[in-house]
Amino acid sequence: MATMAPDLMIDCVGLTKRYGDFHALRDCDLKVRRGEVFGLLGPNGAGKTTLIRSLLGFLKPTAGTCHVDGIDAMAASVDVRRRVAYLPGDARLPRHMRGTGVLKFFAEMHPDGNLDRSLAVADRFELNLRTRVAFMSTGMRQKLALAVVLGPSTPLLILDEPTANLDPTVRGAVLQCVREAQAEGRTVVLSSHVLSEIEETCGRVAFLRRGILAHQLSMNELFQQHRITGDVPNATARRLIESPPDHVPHALSDRVRLSVQGDHETETTLCIDTSGDLAPMLSWLDSLEMTRLRIEPLGLRAVYDAVHFGHPIPVGRDLRTIHESIGKDTEAVS
C-alpha cells in the first residue's frame, strides 16, 4: 500500500505514456475522490483511453506513478482489477457464447461477481440472453457488456463511453445505474463524448487534449457559470470595454468577462460571461439598460470548445485573464 490520501480512489502523478516521439499522455496529475462520479472529456485521441488503460495495468507508463485504492497499478494490477469493474470503449465478448453464458462466465471470473445483479441489469435493459453473441446487434452487445460490468459491486466503476450505440431509453437507464452506483458509495469514472450525460451525472470533470490534462472543474462551479447577451447603446458598450474597472462594480470585476458579439448602427451586442452567484449582478445588469436580454447557463460545451481550441477557459480562476481578454476585445471594437 502506498501513502496516499485515504479519501482518494485514484491518484496519478506525472503519468506519461510515450510511443516513440508521440506522447499519448503527458505528465498527467489526476486525483479522483472516493464516492464521486468523475467525468473524462476530450476529443478522440486526447488520451482518455490511454489514461484508463494505464490505471488497469494494460499499458506500462513511460513515467509517473498511478495508484488505485492505494494500490500501485503497475506493481499489482491484478489487485487493482479486483477493485475495478471496467467497461471498454469497444467491448467485445466471446462470440461463441450465449448471453446467459457470458454473464455466468464473467460473474465466476470476478471475486465480487454477482450473476443475479447482472441478470437484473440485463432484464432492465430488456436484453434477450438466449441469443449468441455472434448474432447480437451492436446495441445488444453493448447492453450485455454493461450487464457484465454492472454485476460486481466493486469500489470503482470505470465506464468508457457506456452509452455508445444505445437508444435514448437505455441511455437513461445506464445513467440511472451510474447514479445508483454512486448512491451505493462507489466511485465512478465516466468517459463520454455526450456532454449532456456528463453534466447530468458527474460531480467533477477533467478535460484532456493531446495527451495533456488541460483542465479540471467541478460541476457546481460550472453550474454557476452564465452567459448573458443583450444589446446596449454603442456609447455604453465603448465605455465598458475601454475601461472596465471604472464601469464594472469592484465586487464583480473578477467574476465577469466582457466581449462584443455584434456591432450595429446604434447598438452593440454585448456578451458577459459570469462566474458565481448571479443575484448580486442583477442590479448592475439593470443599470446597463440592456434590451433583448438573454441569460443562459454556460454549459460544458463552452468549456469543451475553449479547451479544444485553446481559448481562455470561462471558469472560476481562469477569469483572472479578464483584463487581457477585454484588451483584445477593445482592439476588435475599435
Binding site: T49, R53, L56, F58, L59, K60, V78, D79, R81, R82, V84, A85, Y86, P88, G89, D90, A91, R92, L93, P94, R95, H96, M97, F105, F106, E108, M109, H110, P111, A145, V148
Partner: protein
Amino acid sequence: MIDRVLVRKYIGQSALLWSACGLALFAFAWVRVWVVGLLDMSQFQSVLDLFKDFEKFAPIEFSALATYAGRIGMTFDEPIVILCTVIWCVARGSDVVSGELSRGTLEMLLAQPVSRARLMLSHATVSVVGLALLCLLLWAGIGVGIEASTVKETVPPPSFRIPLIGIDVPLSGADPVVEIVPMTQRVDAATFAASVFHLFAFGFFLLALSSFFSSLDRYRWRTIGAVMTVYIVELVIFGLGKAAPSLEWLQKLSFFTCYKPQKMTSLIGNGDLWSPWSLSETVPGAMLPPLAYPLILLGLGLAFYALALWRFQTRDLPAPL
C-alpha cells in the same frame, strides 16, 4: 497457476476443432491399419524395391517397411496426421494473445482480476492436454484397427533345398495355403507408444512456437503466417539436408530431425519395447540416443513457452481495433 473458469471457456472455444481433428485422426488410423492388412507383404516388398534410389529420403530403411509394424508406423508421417496435428497446434497456439487481441476480447478478459501468466497457462493447459488426447486418439485408432483387422498370409507348400546348388524343390504339388491371421498376432499396439510420444513432442514444439509468435503480435493471421513460414523453411532445410550428402549439416538446423516416429518402430523391431526410451544407447545412423530427440523438442517447446510468457507479461496491450 491456472484458472478453472478460463479453462472451461477455452475448452468450449476449442471443442469443435478438437472433435474434428480427433475424429479424423482416430478414423484415419483405424482405416490405415485395415488397409495395411489388405496388402500382401511379398508384393509390397517388390514395390519397395522399385524405389530403392529414394530410400535416403525415407525416415527409415525400406526393409523395415516390409513388416506390418513398419507399415503401420508410417501412419505417423502421413500428411493427414501431420496436418491435423499442425492445425490444432497452430490454431490454438496463435489464439492465446494475438487471437484474443484480433477479436478484441482480451480487453474484457483482462479487465477481470486474472494475471496474464494465469491466462496463458490456462490456455496452454487446454491446448497441451488437447494435443495429448489427440495423440492418444490416434494411438487408439491404431489399436482398434489392429484388434479389428486380419491379415492374409500365404504359406508355401513344404519344400526341400538341394544342397550345393541351393534350389528349393516342393515336396507336394498342392497350391500354397492362404491363412487368415488376426493382426494382433503380428503387431502389438504398444509398439507405437514411442511414436505417439514423438508426435506429442512435435506438436508441443509447434504449439509453443505458435504461442510465442502470438505473444509478439496483435493480428492472428500474421501469427499463423509467421509460424507456417518457419515450418516450411524448416521443412525445406530438412529436405535439402536429406537430398545431398554435402548439405547433410543442414539437418541439424531443422526441428524435423527430432521427429523420428518410424525410427522408434524399427528400433523396437530390432530390439525390445524399451529401446526407444533409452538415453544411453545411440540410435543407429544418428548422433543421439532415441529419447533425446523428443526431449529436445519438449525442451525447445518449454523455452518458447517461457519466452511467450515473458513477452506477454511485459508488453503493452493495444486497444481493440
